[in-house]
């Protein structure tokens, strides 16, 4: 589309015709432009998101196995769902996910909020250090998981070494030990994503108009009261947004943990997504895995609804 030629034609047309007619002559109608602009996006999302989604729902009611394409596909109703929701193993994976989810959120909120409050004191060079703190969350989770396996080496790893310089606990087998592995993934996730919580807390802190503190000053409120009655209510929507988003991300956590522990030892760090991958791409129980996927979908979709509601509230 050559802009220059079109422009001159349009200019000429605009000059020559009365306004109403000009509107019609100027190429496409608003409606046509709207559809022209939006339809490629919709088509691509339909093809690569919606269609597969519906297919998954269909497969979840069958006994399809992707590694045996010739086999007859039988409709088995809700049996996959019954099997999943009656399985003590799957329940265990959900609990492993819950352990990961709850502890990462608790630690990240405490550390992230603390850091945000400190940074908000506004010392010199705080901008630079904020950037430094943000670096881990921009990195590839899978690669982070890979290099933490090196840091976590029980004999020679630096993690165990540093801990031992403070407390004499002996070689820490963070990845190999049943009691430590769930914490190993919590630590890495906290290292990576505390900056995210910190960031949203900072945004919340900056949204507080200074006159509130000045008014509190006049009322002789102490620091704790100011925090409780002014700071906390104002950052709570931001904090909730951060926790919801990270909650969704950690509920479906896959890449970092699969590289770090790949679900082991035993199934102590077998999170929902990791088990789903095993069922779908190692055991090839496609129908069953699809039902599992639908359960995760619906849960994430529900959380996403709440998230978008919270997001719109914060943005307005």
């Amino acid at each position: 589309m050559s802009g220059g030629a079109m422009e001159s034609v349009a200019d000429a047309a605009a000059r020559a015709t009365p306004k109403r007619v000009a509107g019609r002559l100027r190429g496409l109608s608003d409606r046509a432009i709207a559809w022209l602009f939006i339809s490629p996006t919709i088509v691509l999302l339909l093809a690569i998101n919606i269609f597969p989604l519906l297919w998954t729902v269909y497969l979840s009611f069958t006994n399809y196995r992707a590694n045996q394409p010739g086999r007859e596909v039988k409709w088995i109703g809700t049996r996959n769902y019954e099997r999943l929701l009656g399985s003590e193993d799957v329940w265990g994976y959900m609990q492993a996910t819950a352990h990961f989810l709850v502890w990462t959120m608790v630690l990240q909120v405490i550390i992230g909020l603390g850091l945000a409050l400190l940074i908000n004191r506004g010392f010199r060079t705080s901008g630079f250090w904020t950037t430094v703190i943000l670096i881990p969350m921009m990195l590839s989770p899978a690669v982070v998981g890979t290099f933490w396996t090196y840091l976590y080496q029980p004999q020679t790893g630096i993690f165990s070494y540093i801990i031992n310089t403070f407390v004499e606990v002996g070689a820490l087998n963070m990845i190999g030990s049943v009691s430590l592995a769930p914490w190993a993934i919590v630590i890495v996730d906290t290292w990576m994503w505390t900056p995210y919580i910190m960031l949203l807390c900072l945004a919340g802190l900056r949204s507080i108009p200074p006159y509130l503190y000045e008014a509190a000053e006049i009322d002789r409120a102490n620091a704790l009261q100011k925090f409780w009655y002014i700071t906390l209510p104002r950052i709570l929507p931001f904090l909730m947004l951060a926790v919801l988003f990270r909650g969704i991300e950690n509920f479906k956590m896959f890449d970092m943990v699969v590289e770090l522990t790949s679900g082991g030892p035993g199934s102590t760090t077998e999170l929902a997504s990791i088990n789903l991958k095993r069922e779908a791409f190692e055991k090839w129980r496609t129908g069953y895995a699809s039902a599992f996927a639908v359960i995760l979908f619906v849960t994430v979709f529900g959380l996403a609804s709440i998230y978008v509601k919270a997001l719109n509230r914060v943005r307005s």
Partner: protein, 72 residues
């Protein structure tokens, strides 16, 4: 300040049934249902709760989709 306030109050009262189909409170109900379902899915206490968790989440999620189309 008070005059327009009472005005809107009367208006909502007047609409009768429409009062029951407001978005805000129903969205909260659906949100609570979703949260409850997720707790049931991941709690370590009762297998019975686990078994019913997905039904609760599904109800909450579908409910949310529906009630988010109610008027404000």
């Amino acid at each position: 300040m008070s005059a327009p306030g009472t005005g809107t109050l009367q208006k909502t009262k007047g609409r009768g049934l429409a009062r029951w189909f407001r978005r805000g409170p129903w969205e909260n109900v659906a949100s609570v249902l979703i949260a409850l379902g997720i707790f049931m899915l991941m709690q370590p206490f009762s297998e019975w709760l686990y078994g019913w968790s997905f039904s609760v989440i599904l109800t909450g999620t579908l409910g949310f989709v529906i009630v988010s189309h109610f008027p404000e």
